[in-house]
Symmetry: D2
Amino acid sequence: MTEQTRRVIVDTDTAGDDTQALLLAAASERLDVEGITICAGNVEFEHQVENAKYTLDLAGVADDVTVYEGATEPLLATHDYADYIHGEGGLGGERFPDTGIPSGDQYGPDFIVEQARANPGELTLVCIAPLTNVALALQKEPKLGDLLDDVWVMGGNANCCGNVTPAAEYNFWVDPHAAKMVVDELDMTLFDWGVTVRETAFDGDTLDEFTAGIDTDLGEFFGEVATSVRAFNRESFGEDTTTQPDSGMMAAVIEPSLVVEAGRYHVEVDDRDGLTRGYSVVDENDVTDGEPRTTVVESFDNARFEAMFRAMLRGRSPESALD
Amino acid sequence: MTEQTRRVIVDTDTAGDDTQALLLAAASERLDVEGITICAGNVEFEHQVENAKYTLDLAGVADDVTVYEGATEPLLATHDYADYIHGEGGLGGERFPDTGIPSGDQYGPDFIVEQARANPGELTLVCIAPLTNVALALQKEPKLGDLLDDVWVMGGNANCCGNVTPAAEYNFWVDPHAAKMVVDELDMTLFDWGVTVRETAFDGDTLDEFTAGIDTDLGEFFGEVATSVRAFNRESFGEDTTTQPDSGMMAAVIEPSLVVEAGRYHVEVDDRDGLTRGYSVVDENDVTDGEPRTTVVESFDNARFEAMFRAMLRGRSPESALD
Amino acid sequence: MTEQTRRVIVDTDTAGDDTQALLLAAASERLDVEGITICAGNVEFEHQVENAKYTLDLAGVADDVTVYEGATEPLLATHDYADYIHGEGGLGGERFPDTGIPSGDQYGPDFIVEQARANPGELTLVCIAPLTNVALALQKEPKLGDLLDDVWVMGGNANCCGNVTPAAEYNFWVDPHAAKMVVDELDMTLFDWGVTVRETAFDGDTLDEFTAGIDTDLGEFFGEVATSVRAFNRESFGEDTTTQPDSGMMAAVIEPSLVVEAGRYHVEVDDRDGLTRGYSVVDENDVTDGEPRTTVVESFDNARFEAMFRAMLRGRSPESALD
Amino acid sequence: MTEQTRRVIVDTDTAGDDTQALLLAAASERLDVEGITICAGNVEFEHQVENAKYTLDLAGVADDVTVYEGATEPLLATHDYADYIHGEGGLGGERFPDTGIPSGDQYGPDFIVEQARANPGELTLVCIAPLTNVALALQKEPKLGDLLDDVWVMGGNANCCGNVTPAAEYNFWVDPHAAKMVVDELDMTLFDWGVTVRETAFDGDTLDEFTAGIDTDLGEFFGEVATSVRAFNRESFGEDTTTQPDSGMMAAVIEPSLVVEAGRYHVEVDDRDGLTRGYSVVDENDVTDGEPRTTVVESFDNARFEAMFRAMLRGRSPESALD
Ligand SMILES: [Ca+2]
Ligand SMILES: [Ca+2]
Ligand SMILES: [Ca+2]
Ligand SMILES: [Ca+2]
């Protein structure tokens, strides 16, 4: 169904599950990936750039999809990496790619602005990183929202405990000013940490299958990437599990019916330093005056997501698992 | 069981469910109510004072239990009443008591301090209001925590949506500075808005029984008090229900086994103005350095609570329903 | 002139210049000191209590003037002493008094409230410490402003650099919440750090005269107290000088014509933590909507103040120098 | 003296005194103006762009100097214009230019980055607007400080009353986040509101001479621009005066010896919303741990500045007045 192809730009801090999201996007015939922009986040910037290129190469699309380097720091907040989860390089182990593939010659936010202006109403922005690049694009082009077809954001924690602090999820916490700008200005679908925990987890059996039982390069790659997170979760929470925030959302971009339930709420991000840095107020009960313009995913079809993921690892398109 | 009698001071902003908490306390032979302190909260201060006296009178204990007037304003925050929920006077309807019963001649916080000093290790503080009085007692007597036997607090919202704002529950929101002081300094059991919503609700059938089917003064009183809240919930959330934060917790003070599950966590209250005023950080996953010293009630025995409540309305001791 | 006698309560964190303010008050026939209340501030609380008693004893009024112990901590802020300026005990040297004089049996804020209620319109509150005690009195008696005749406060920095931080003066910084409450609620005369620096300084010659050239117990006492501050200023700012915030203001309470110029402005204190903790916004150009109700001393008669101080050190009444 | 020519980019929110700063720059043979970038500030963005072009045209340099449009909004803060001072269009009266001159085809911050990269160590950035453009340039090119020769910023209020609020000066207030970023990252000379008020004022006689007694286009233009500010000051402060923040600083860029005294201090900008939005902490007494890297102009040669200004109005180079 060519007419259904969705043209996407993926903004990513490529480490851990970002790689799997890129692999899903690359493997899907429903998406055309117009470019990848890299944003300060999980691990050292240069590692992120290389991780993205390496992943695209593994997916066989490195010639078609260019990686653009964006913001190397949050707008204002001090930056903390998440390498204690993803490993120093972000791929969980000893893999520190050095691909030699050149980056695009535009600044990430400039690429987003230029593409949006050149293709009004055509592009979907898939944001699986802190929102610095998107905020800078928005600052440069205040009409960005009108120029885009759709925006999906992994971030925030809707009335549930965060991951990096009790009050906040990592992406929003890293650059709370950017998150506030973007959530204030753009209509979006939000895939938060709550739905991630509740509905994207792979259990031990699935992890065993995916990391050992699939004899492909992608299976091996996932095995390496997942091992670090799996160990972290086992140690921190006593649960043999990984969660898939970025690839979970990417699967929903490919197949929106994975979103079983969603509510449209007013959302506001706290950009102040301190206790609630990056906290996302989600007005579930409509008690504030704020306009409800964020679609918050509340329930997600984990079973079909897992099938799509398995298909991708086996070298097939994720949507092939949906029939 | 004289040796099991628990001596309590109840700090209350008497309106709505506060009255039922006082009735449970008065009707229980397991509690000796040493005094009632009134704190700025739900409705106009003078109404709260009269509501408390009226309730004690209805319970037949007005001669034994004195009402002490405390803080008429939060420490620093601007004060908003909750009379849109409880009705202007706080009793849901046209009842504006004027009992003529004199108040105690001590300032509420001073009464708490004096009693705690006079009875070291003997008293339980049951807090079902904003925490201004308790904070002032703590300011006057920094060793208050050591002098008390136990502290129970209704307030906060543990990783769930608040009631007065998405980020905050009413008691903590009204005086966030007091809440912060008290939560920082005192070991306590916290009965939050989350467990209130999940496990203290009376459904329509129960409300019908309690408000119409119990032919006692207390049944009639509950009927009046509940009607306003019930209508508010029906209109706001489309649910025919009332929640019982204060009386739910009081039942647990009487019968601690109503607490089915609880976790001991570090809790911190946000006392800043703005988006997260009164927000309670509850570090469920132990990711902060904070000492876990607050016992957060996570699951509660609603069925036995309902039975205790029914017994009280019928003029019996709440614990008589437990056999 | 009996009819001119002003009845004062002095709220003090007795260390350094607080002692000289107490000596001026005690030596003046124009003031009746009704009581001293001690507030958390400069040095360890117990030292402050003893310093006050010792000073009153030195002035020969320890039998007439009672010291009441108040707040031992700020309301909410973390407490930092200023003993790096005043010496560990607060008297600059090796003097750690242990007078054996009993404290009054009331909590400082309660004494203020009781006296104000018992003598409506009669009392002047002279505040030369962080404002915790006054805030607590105000919380207990919201009509405190109406009950007092006058309020003088040493604190804040009116559009000039602070002392403890560039943004704040020590008294307001120590308890910014209290300072905000008190400045919001009470009409007052404010003697800020700016006028202190500009117009209360004693230069090297004066200090030499006062510390060595006056052969009285008071002269010797001043010598000891001043030495520490003088050394601090010499080292920190390269200036051989001491400033007299507390005794400067006390002199103006005794002789209001020492205030040469003053403006009535809206003042607001920043009680947030961080960069501007304790900052005092003084709306000199009337650009905000705030009501101008604080009289800010802008210029002060240093020469006559010095004469009053000299008279006091020599054992005479300070006002005797005014003829 | 060709070797002394300083190559500058001027970042401006062209209204009022910005025009005179541009005229000084254009008239000086000591400066080469490489480009003008426009930043959200004083008046509606389109007016600012036209005002700049009109001013350059008046100075006869419109063909040589391009105007680049930058940020149309502050990074995060809500934007308030200052048109109540400068008149709706920013030129004080009925002049609403519509020059037809095209803008440069680069985004202002991109122009700054590109020029800085292309001419490392060559350029001076003269900032007489809110700092949004500079912050965006810095975000895109974190090494901006190393790439520039010098940075001069008009903004902040060093331990004195602000203009837009008691705590803040307009440029820092409009975009406090940008101001914080830029002050944190770049070494600079700061020309604040305090020195502006103390030492750049033109009195009534000078204003009469400049606005009526100089029969040139520039004299007439200044007359119009100054009239609005002069009336505002007469009405608001009862003083017949105008201050020259932007042209004052530009004169010092041309002739640095106009800076009579300056101190090197640690400066930090408050980017929080509320009472102290845009407040600049200037650590005059070196009491914080912050590194002193901002040169704050403390005293300025008003007489020579006035002479330079007069020369410019008369159609001569400003430096011609210095001989
Ligand atoms: Ca990511
Ligand atoms: Ca209550
Ligand atoms: Ca003092
Ligand atoms: Ca300007």
